[in-house]
C-alpha cells in the first residue's frame, strides 16, 4: 500500500496522470523530542535530571553564552548512566558504579 501511494505521488508530480487516490500527502512538518536513552531520569551523583546539565556545569554555565549541550551522559557496562562530568569526578575516588558497585567501565557516551 505504502509503495503504491509513493508511486502515485511520483506520478502525481508529473501532473498529467489522474491520481486514483483520494488523498496525496504533500508535506509533513514533524516535531520530535530527543532525550538520553536512559533507564533513570536522574543522575544518582548530582540528583539533577540527566537532560539538564549537571550541578557543576549549571553553576559554571553562567559564563557560557548559549545553552550548549556540553554536559553529556555516559553509560557503564552495568547499563547505569550518569552525567559524564559527575562520573569522571567519582571514579577518581572509587572506580565502581555508585548504584551497583560493579567495576566501572564505560560502555558508551552520549553525543
Amino acid at each position: 500500500m505504502a509503495e503504491s501511494v509513493q508511486d502515485n505521488v511520483e506520478r502525481g508530480d508529473g501532473d498529467n496522470v489522474k491520481t486514483e487516490n483520494f488523498f496525496t500527502l504533500k508535506k509533513w512538518n514533524a516535531v520530535a523530542m530527543w532525550s538520553w536513552d536512559v533507564e533513570c531520569d536522574t543522575c544518582a551523583i548530582c540528583r539533577v535530571q540527566v537532560m539538564d546539565a549537571c550541578l557543576r556545569c549549571q553553576a559554571e554555565s553562567k559564563k557560557d553564552f548559549y545553552g550548549k549541550q556540553d554536559c553529556v551522559v555516559v553509560w557503564g557496562e552495568c547499563n547505569h548512566s550518569f552525567h559524564y562530568c559527575c562520573m569522571s569526578l567519582w571514579v577518581k575516588q572509587n572506580n565502581r558504579c555508585p548504584l551497583c558497585q560493579q567495576e566501572w567501565s564505560i560502555q558508551r557516551m552520549g553525543k
Binding site: 500500500m1 505504502a2 501511494v5 509513493q6 505521488v9 511520483e10 502525481g12 491520481t19 487516490n21 483520494f22 488523498f23 496525496t24 500527502l25 504533500k26 508535506k27 509533513w28 512538518n29 514533524a30 516535531v31 520530535a32 523530542m33 530527543w34 532525550s35 538520553w36 536513552d37 535530571q49 537532560m51 539538564d52 554555565s61 553562567k62 548559549y66 545553552g67 550548549k68 549541550q69 553529556v72 551522559v73 553509560w75 558508551r108 557516551m109 552520549g110 553525543k111
Partner: protein
C-alpha cells in the same frame, strides 16, 4: 649713589620725605625723580649708621597717617547724612589707592625691616605664642598699617551711620528705586569693609561680617518676612511662588552686585527661611492640589523653592507616588475586550511616559521623584484586584509580546515592533512575578517556534537579549536552548536531505513527501503534553519518512532516543476527490483519520479509534474539528458516540484552495493559564526551600524574621513571595528534617546537618 650705610639726619630727611608721602597719599603728581630719591631716602634711613632709623621712620609715618585719616574723617563727617556715603567712598577710593603706592615707596622698610618681625604663617595657624598674641603692637607693613589706621580712625566712628545708609540704599534697590550712581558707591563702601582687612591671614572677613553682614541679613530677613506676609494676603499660591522665585533671582543678582561672594549662600538661606520655610506647611497643602491637577507650571516653580529644605520635598514625593498610583490604577482598571493585553501594556506605558516626562520637565529628573515613579508603577503593575486573585501583569505582558512577535496582518513595521518590544521592558521591570512571565513567555515562544509563527527571528532574539539584560542568564537559559534547538534542527534537515540524495543515487527510493522536522531537547521546552494512551498507529504513508530519519539521527548521535510529538506535527494533504483539488493543512491525528477513508467510504467511530490507536475521547476531539470545518459528515446527527458513523463530505467546497484546519489541542483554554500558575507555584516552593536550606547551611542558627528577610532578598529578582508561603516552606523543611526549631526559643531555627 652709594648703598653703603651712612650717617643720616632723621628730621631733615623725614621733612622732605613727608612732603612726598603726602603727595602720594593724596594721589598728587609726584615726579619720577622725586619718587626715586625718596625711595632711596627710605633705604638710607633703614640702614643708617650708627643706628638704623627704621623704627623711628615707622613711628613717624604712622603718626602722619593717623593725622591724615583723622583729617579725612572730619571732612567726610562734615558732609551730613545725605552725601556721607558719597564722601566716604571718594575718600576711600583716593586713600586706598594712595596707600597702595605708599606701600611701594616703603618697599625696603617693608621687606627688610618688618617682614623679619612678622609672625610666621605656621604660628598663626597653630596658635601664636601667648607673648605674640598679647603684644599686638608689632609693626605692620606700611600698606597694612594704612588700612589698619583707616579701620580704626575712619570706619569705627562712622560705622553705624554708614551701615544704616547702606541698608537704606539696598532697601531702595529692592523696591526698584535705586539710582545707578549710588550702586557704585554702595558697592565700593561695602568692598572697603572687606579690603581693609584683606591682608590678614586669618579672619579676613570678620570686620565685614560683624559690622555689615550681620545687620544686613537681619534687615533682609525682616524685609522678606514682611514681603511674604504681604504677598500671602493679596495673592494665591501661583503668584506667590512666582514672586518668591523672582525675589530669589533678584536677590542673587543683588548679592553679586553689592556683596562679598561669601555672603551669597547666607542671603539665599535667609530668603528661603523667611519666604519658604516659614510657610512650608501651607505650601505643602497647596502642593497636594497642584499634583492632583498636575499644574506643571506651579510645580516647576515650587520644586526649586522646596528642594534646598531638608524635608521640603518628602511630602511632594509621597503625594506624587499616590497620584501616579491612582492614575495608573484608573488607566488599567477598566480594560476589557479581546486585546486586554495590548491595552494593559500600552496604557501602563502611557502612564509611565507621561509622568516620566513630567518629572523630567518639572522636577529636573530628580532621582527621588524617579524612584517615586518606580514605586507607583510597580504598585500599579502588581496590583491585585482581589486579595486571592493573582496579579495578571505577567500573563498580559507575555501575551503582549506574543502578539507583537507573531506573524500578523496588521501592517505593523518591523521597526514599530522593535520599539514596542523595547518599551515593554519598562513594564517588565516592574513586574514582581517575573517567573510567571517567564513561564507564559516560554510557552508562547515554543508555540511560535514550532508552528513557524514568528515574524522575525532577529526580533525574537533581540527580545530574549533584553530579558537577559534585565534578569540575567538563568532567566533566559531555557529560552536560549529553544533557540539553539531551532538552528540545530535546521542543520539536521539540510544534512538529512543531502543524505537522502546520496542514497537515492545508490538506488534507494525517495520519501516522496516534503519532510521537515524539529528535534527538540527534552526538558527545555514547556510542552504540557497529554500522556498518549497506547501507541498511536502512524499512517503508513509516514512510516518510511520516520524510519529514514530515525536511522539518520541515530547515526548522527548516540545514546539518544526520539519521541515523536504527533499533536505538534502538521501535514499537508491534497484532496483529490472533490471538484477542485484542495490543499489542507492538518494535524497528524486528523491526517491519519482522513487517510483512513482511502480504503472505505464510511467508518464507525469505534473502528476509527481502533485503527488509529487512540482513545474514543481523543478521537472525538479530532472528529469534531473535522466535522466543524465540514470535511467530514456524521450520521446520525447529534452527539458523537462509539456507534456514530463518519463519512467524507464529497460535496465540500471552499473559496480558498489552501487552508488550515484548527487542531483540537491547539485551542487555548482558560485552564491553560491556570496550569501555568500552578506550575509556577510549585517551582516557587522548590526555589524557596532551596533558598532556605542554602541560608541555613551557611548561618547554622537564625531567627525567624532574619531568615524571612534573607529569603525575600534572594528571591527578589524573580518574584515576591508571600510571607505565608515562606512559612509553609519552613514548616515543610522542618518536617523533612532539614532544619529544626531550637530548644530555647520558639522562633529560632537551626540547620540539621
Amino acid at each position: 649713589m652709594s648703598l653703603k650705610p651712612k650717617r643720616v639726619d632723621f628730621s631733615q630727611t623725614w621733612d622732605i620725605l613727608q612732603q612726598t608721602v603726602k603727595g602720594v597719599i593724596t594721589l598728587a603728581d609726584v615726579p619720577r625723580s622725586t619718587w626715586n630719591d625718596r625711595f632711596t631716602d627710605v633705604y638710607s634711613l633703614c640702614v643708617a649708621y650708627p643706628e638704623p632709623l627704621a623704627d623711628r621712620l615707622y613711628d613717624e609715618t604712622k603718626h602722619f597717617l593717623d593725622d591724615h585719616v583723622s583729617e579725612l574723617l572730619l571732612g567726610v563727617s562734615k558732609q551730613g547724612d545725605a552725601s556721607l556715603l558719597q564722601a566716604y567712598h571718594s575718600a576711600w577710593t583716593e586713600y586706598s589707592q594712595g596707600i597702595d603706592y605708599l606701600h611701594q615707596l616703603y618697599l625696603y622698610l617693608n621687606q627688610q625691616h618688618i617682614k623679619k618681625q612678622k609672625t610666621t604663617e605656621a604660628e598663626i595657624i597653630y596658635g601664636a605664642s601667648c607673648a605674640a598674641a598679647a603684644d599686638y603692637q608689632e609693626q605692620m607693613e606700611i600698606g597694612e598699617l594704612g588700612l589698619d589706621i583707616w579701620k580704626r580712625k575712619m570706619i569705627t566712628p562712622l560705622k553705624e551711620s554708614l551701615v544704616s545708609l547702606l541698608l537704606a540704599g539696598i532697601h531702595g534697590d529692592r523696591l526698584g528705586k535705586a539710582r545707578h550712581a549710588t550702586t557704585d558707591v554702595i558697592c565700593g563702601v561695602i568692598q572697603s569693609f572687606v579690603r581693609v582687612e584683606e591682608y590678614k591671614k586669618k579672619g579676613q572677613l570678620d570686620l565685614y561680617q560683624q559690622i555689615f553682614e550681620e545687620p544686613f541679613l537681619e534687615d533682609s530677613g525682616n524685609f522678606y518676612a514682611r514681603e511674604a506676609s504681604e504677598l500671602l494676603q493679596k495673592s494665591d499660591v501661583s503668584y506667590y511662588m512666582e514672586q518668591v522665585s523672582w525675589r530669589f533671582s533678584q536677590e542673587e543678582l543683588r548679592c553679586q552686585k553689592f556683596l562679598h561672594s561669601s555672603s551669597a549662600p547666607k542671603v539665599r538661606q535667609c530668603c528661603q527661611e523667611k519666604m519658604v520655610a516659614a510657610h512650608l506647611s501651607w505650601l505643602h497643602t497647596e502642593a497636594d492640589v497642584m499634583i492632583e491637577n498636575e499644574r506643571r507650571r506651579d510645580l516647576s516653580f515650587l520644586y526649586p523653592l522646596l528642594r534646598p529644605l531638608p524635608s521640603g520635598l518628602a511630602p511632594l514625593i509621597r503625594k506624587l507616588t499616590a497620584h501616579i498610583t491612582q492614575q495608573g490604577l484608573r488607566a488599567i482598571g477598566t480594560l476589557q475586550g479581546d486585546n486586554v493585553h495590548t491595552q494593559f501594556v500600552e496604557s501602563m506605558l502611557d502612564v509611565h511616559t507621561k509622568y516620566y516626562e513630567l518629572i523630567k520637565a518639572v522636577f529636573k529628573g530628580d532621582q527621588a521623584f524617579i524612584s517615586a515613579l518606580d514605586k507607583a508603577c510597580s504598585a500599579v503593575v502588581n496590583h491585585q484586584p482581589a486579595s486571592r486573585q493573582p496579579a495578571r501583569a505577567a500573563e498580559l505582558l507575555a501575551k503582549y509580546c506574543d502578539s507583537l512577535l507573531k506573524k500578523s496582518s496588521r501592517g505593523t513595521t518591523e521597526g514599530d515592533v522593535e520599539e514596542k518590544l523595547a518599551r515593554s521592558i519598562t513594564v517588565f521591570k516592574y513586574v514582581d512575578d517575573k517567573d510567571v512571565f517567564q513561564k507564559f513567555y516560554a510557552r508562547m515562544l515554543a508555540k511560535r517556534l514550532i508552528h513557524q509563527q514568528s515574524q522575525s527571528m532577529d526580533a525574537e532574539e533581540a527580545m530574549i537579549d533584553r530579558l537577559k539584560q534585565a534578569c540575567g542568564y538563568e532567566f533566559t537559559n531555557k529560552l536560549h536552548r529553544m533557540f539553539t534547538d531551532m538552528s540545530v534542527s535546521a542543520d539536521l534537515n539540510t544534512k538529512f536531505s543531502s543524505n537522502l540524495r546520496e542514497r537515492e543515487g545508490q538506488g534507494q527510493k525517495q520519501l516522496g513527501i516534503g519532510f521537515g522536522v524539529y528535534v527538540l531537547q527534552a526538558g527545555a521546552w514547556p510542552l504540557g503534553l497529554p500522556p498518549a494512551p497506547g501507541p498511536f498507529h502512524v499512517p503508513q504513508q509516514l512510516e518510511q519518512s520516520i524510519q529514514a530519519f530515525e536511522t539518520f539521527y541515530h547515526a548522527q548521535f548516540s545514546g539518544r532516543k526520539l519521541t515523536w510529538l504527533h499533536p505538534l506535527c502538521q501535514g499537508e494533504l491534497k484532496l483529490n476527490y472533490l471538484k477542485r483539488p484542495y490543499l489542507v493543512t492538518v494535524q497528524t491525528y486528523q491526517m491519519a483519520l482522513l487517510l483512513l477513508f482511502e480504503q472505505c467510504d464510511t467508518l464507525p467511530c469505534k473502528e476509527a479509534a481502533m485503527s488509529l490507536g487512540v482513545s474514543q475521547e481523543q478521537l472525538e476531539k479530532h472528529v469534531v474539528s473535522l466535522i466543524d470545518c465540514k470535511l467530514l459528515k456524521k450520521s446520525p446527527d447529534g452527539e458523537l458516540g462509539e456507534e456514530t458513523t463518519l463519512m467524507l463530505n464529497l460535496d465540500y467546497s471552499n473559496k480558498r484552495t489552501k487552508f488550515r484546519v484548527t487542531a483540537a489541542l491547539q485551542r487555548e483554554g482558560p485552564q491553560d493559564a491556570e496550569t501555568t500558575h500552578r506550575s509556577v507555584d510549585h517551582d516557587r516552593k522548590l526555589y524557596l526551600q532551596a533558598a532556605i536550606v542554602r541560608i541555613m547551611k551557611s548561618r547554622k542558627l537564625l531567627r525567624h524574621n532574619q531568615l524571612v528577610q534573607e529569603v525575600l532578598g534572594q528571591s527578589k529578582i524573580t518574584f515576591a513571595p508571600s510571607i505565608g508561603m515562606i512559612k509553609k516552606c519552613i514548616e515543610a523543611l522542618i518536617d523533612k528534617q532539614y532544619i529544626e526549631r531550637t530548644a530555647n526559643s520558639s522562633d529560632e531555627y537551626s540547620y540539621v546537618a
